[in-house]
């Protein structure tokens, strides 16, 4: 049992770091990490992201896990993690291509024709083209397979109509991976087909979606008679669900966080500055106990991540630990932010800088945490995954299993 790199891993880390040191500035404390998406993205951000991606691609450091034929270096999953850890030490533009690289690309690799792979993958790797994922709909969230966006065949093209939502990156994307219903007359999973949509095509309308935080990190995408050539179909007609599953599996494994350890450390610092009953909050037994409880959970999640990395470094596929990490962290971060606001007493109803001068915007975190419990699987979906896939408990009784999609009750 150790937390050290193997010799190979250490060598890989050194090589990654030395390239990064030559091509980027170290990250200063307070600089947002690469996963921290800004609330709004402008053209300069997009240009910077593309430039950085191009630079990496030129040196063989882009999408290192991809096969060599598409520009990758066939790196192992643990090498990908090491690269990400090292890259996070440097000041880099926000990673606007993460959905494309982590979820669209594996799907294209698994289900695309060789023409499709050659057409799309190298351009995605080099940063030339940005991708987004057109899956969720207003009436299809946890029940993704209940989506309604229709794709109707018209000779060699498909005509797509519908509405997608919660689409990150759509406003500057070149391509969208679309899941649509080609046949409402068959059971719901059977009626789905996957397409790659040109986001610049007529009829594609991207509108920013305002969140409860006030930010616009996501979009709605309206598809109005969008024509998609049949050679942009990914996988067979009716195989959409099987294709989409590839993306979903990769999406979940992409969100390996630190479980909230940083926020809990911020909280400790904060508790030293706020007073309660005329002493620093950290000296109050009730608050100390609450803090320790947060810390133990956050560290538990972080250490569970180390077990996952261990599995990765052995070439094993990580299991449903991801669900645990998101389930526990989502609730934890909401509790932590609420607790931090409460620490300020009657001021706990303030927002932003007004609340504290600790450098942490707990109010924004409290708003954001409400979303963490939803995006990428609600608490309920995650518990179902754990119950069915880990504990092998009986699956849900499905009321919509063997009937045509159009006959499923929909409220």
């Amino acid at each position: 049992m150790d937390f050290d790199d193997t010799r190979n891993q250490a060598a890989f880390r050194r090589s990654a770091r030395s390239w990064l040191e030559a091509h980027a500035e170290p990250r200063a404390p307070g600089d947002p990490g690469p996963g921290n998406m800004p609330e709004s993205v402008d053209a300069a951000d997009v240009a910077a992201a593309k430039a950085w991606q191009q630079k990496k691609a030129g040196a063989g450091w882009a999408c290192i896990g991809w096969p060599v034929e598409y520009g990758g270096r066939g790196a192992t999953p643990i090498e990908e993690v090491i690269w990400a850890e090292e890259e996070a030490r440097f000041r880099t533009p926000p990673d606007l291509m993460i959905d494309g690289h982590r979820t669209c690309a594996p799907t294209v690799m698994a289900h695309g024709s060789s023409e499709q792979k050659q057409r799309w993958l190298p351009a995605m790797l080099s940063g030339g083209e940005i991708w987004c994922q057109l899956y969720s709909e207003p009436s299809a969230g946890s029940d993704l397979a209940g989506l309604r966006t229709a794709a109707v065949r018209d000779g060699d093209t498909w005509v797509v109509n519908g509405q997608k939502v919660w689409t990150s990156h759509a406003q500057y994307s070149d391509w969208g991976l679309l899941l649509a219903r080609h046949d409402p007359g068959v059971p719901k999973h059977a009626g789905l087909t996957c397409f790659v949509v040109d986001m610049h095509a007529p009829g594609v309308d991207v509108r920013p979606l305002r969140q409860i935080t006030g930010g616009h990190g996501f979009n709605e995408v309206f598809l109005d008679n969008v024509r998609v050539p049949d050679d942009c179909r990914l996988g067979g007609v009716g195989e959409g669900w099987r294709v989409a599953i590839t993306s979903l599996m990769n999406e979940r494994s992409a969100s390996l966080g630190d479980g909230g350890v940083d926020q809990v450390r911020d909280l400790l610092r904060f508790m030293k500055t706020v007073a309660l009953e005329n002493r620093p909050a950290i000296e109050d037994p009730a608050l100390r106990e609450r803090w320790a409880d947060f810390h133990a959970r956050a560290r538990g999640v972080e250490l569970t991540g180390k077990r996952t990395l261990t599995a990765l470094s052995r070439g094993e596929t990580p299991g449903p630990e991801m669900s645990l990490m998101k389930l526990v962290s989502g609730r934890l971060l909401q509790e932590v932010a609420h607790f931090a606001m409460d620490l300020t007493g009657a001021s706990g109803g303030l927002a932003g800088d007004a609340l504290t001068s600790s450098g942490v915007d707990w109010a924004a975190q409290y708003l954001g945490a409400a979303g963490l419990r939803i995006a990428g699987g609600t608490d309920e979906v995650l518990r179902n995954i754990i119950a069915e896939r880990v504990l092998d408990l009986p699956r849900e009784v499905r009321a919509d299993k063997d009937i045509a999609f159009k006959d499923i009750p929909a409220g």
Partner: protein, 370 residues
């Protein structure tokens, strides 16, 4: 045994609710929140006309003399619709302070205007983040002039006067400060719920007048906070109950996997738990309202804590679950969930949070049982 509101009070509730259904849809709260105004002038004037603001003010001073149970009913209904009006600050705190401790002259001068909504008051206490007790007060009165900074004042940006907790020769006092003069600086603060605005007030030798309290205003301040806590608990109850109703309706209408999501035990049981929270909050808030209306200071000491603790827990938990059960839709600005999420947070912080009232309850019960 009649632990329920009277028929008159129930009729009042019906009337209030009918009026609010017509004049205070949730879009009114949203407008106040988005406009940055933080208050609906029209609703406030309507409330004044209908006599809500003066419900607990004796008729002699221009009120309706309906008593605190009526006030509690109104608070709950305003809570249900997240009304963007300075009810808790002006009615439940400033007006109550005058009723409790004002001289005859002060009552004559202020109460009719408060009842008619011509003027609004507020209450200024907290100075330091975290601290809520009297021993954190530094604002001081010397020769009838107040100097100090009050960090957090509900509706402090628009109130005409404030009841301020300060020290006079080291003793806590309540004073009444006109906020329109040049010796008062107001700075609006970013409120977590912009439909309930907050401000910082700076007093620079501002002229003030004393407000009862005798040797020490400490018991008076306790009593004032206890009463306001009960009324705010009624507001929290209203908000929590409404959030539950909306979420329940959503869960019945929204389908996933061919069924209403409210048919899945995960949702059913969570809503059942939240219903329990709301009913516990209701019982505790009613008890607080009873003690407040009785004028029974002893029972109010316990009841205010119970009401406030249960109110904070119920509304916070319900508002968090409201967002989560609504799923992606609940996280959009367009959905109403965040209005409840914001209001729940604000009401849980104003007047001291649940932890503060828990400690207060344990202190009081341990002392009483000693």
């Amino acid at each position: 045994m009649n632990f329920d509101f009277s028929d008159d009070q129930k009729l009042l509730r019906q009337a209030v609710r009918r009026y609010l259904e017509a004049h205070a849809p949730l879009s009114l709260c949203r407008e106040a929140l988005e406009s940055g105004q933080g208050v609906s002038r029209a609703l406030w004037e309507g409330a004044a006309e209908l006599g809500w603001l003066g419900a607990a003010i004796p008729e002699a001073y221009g009120g309706g003399g309906f008593g605190r149970l009526a006030l509690a009913v109104i608070a709950e209904e305003l809570g249900r619709c997240l009304a963007p009006v300075p009810f808790s600050s002006s009615v439940c705190l400033a007006t109550e302070a005058l009723l409790l401790a004002g001289s005859g002259a002060q009552k004559e001068r202020y109460l009719p205007g408060l009842a008619q909504g011509r003027c609004t008051g507020t209450f200024a206490f907290a100075e330091t983040p975290g601290q809520s007790g009297l021993d954190s007060v530094r604002a001081r009165v010397e020769d009838g002039r107040l100097t100090g900074r009050k960090r957090l004042v509900l509706d402090g940006g628009l109130a005409d006067f404030a009841v301020v907790v300060a020290l006079d020769s080291g003793r806590p006092v309540l004073v009444l400060a006109d906020l329109s003069g040049p010796a008062v600086q107001r700075r609006p603060l970013a409120s977590f719920d912009p439909s309930r605005p907050q401000a910082e007030l700076r007093f620079l030798e501002a002229p003030v007048e004393g407000l009862g309290g005798g040797d020490s205003a400490a018991p008076l301040i306790e009593r004032l906070l206890d009463g306001a806590a009960v009324l705010m608990a009624m507001e929290q109850l209203g908000g929590a109950a409404r959030a539950l109703e909306i979420t329940r309706d959503f869960a019945v209408q929204r389908h996933a996997f061919g069924r209403p999501i409210g048919g899945f035990q995960a949702i059913k049981h969570r809503l059942a738990d939240r219903w329990c929270d709301v009913e516990l909050a209701r019982s505790n808030a009613w008890y607080g309202a009873w003690a407040l209306a009785q004028g029974s200071v002893d029972e109010l000491r316990e009841a205010a804590c119970l009401a406030r603790i249960a109110g904070c827990d119920a509304f916070t938990g319900m508002s968090e679950d409201m967002v989560e059960i609504h799923g992606g839709i609940g996280f959009t600005w367009e959905a109403d969930c965040h209005l409840f999420y914001r209001r729940a947070r604000l009401l849980s912080a104003a007047l001291g949070n649940a932890a503060f009232w828990k400690r207060r309850l344990a202190d009081r019960m341990a002392r009483d049982a000693a």
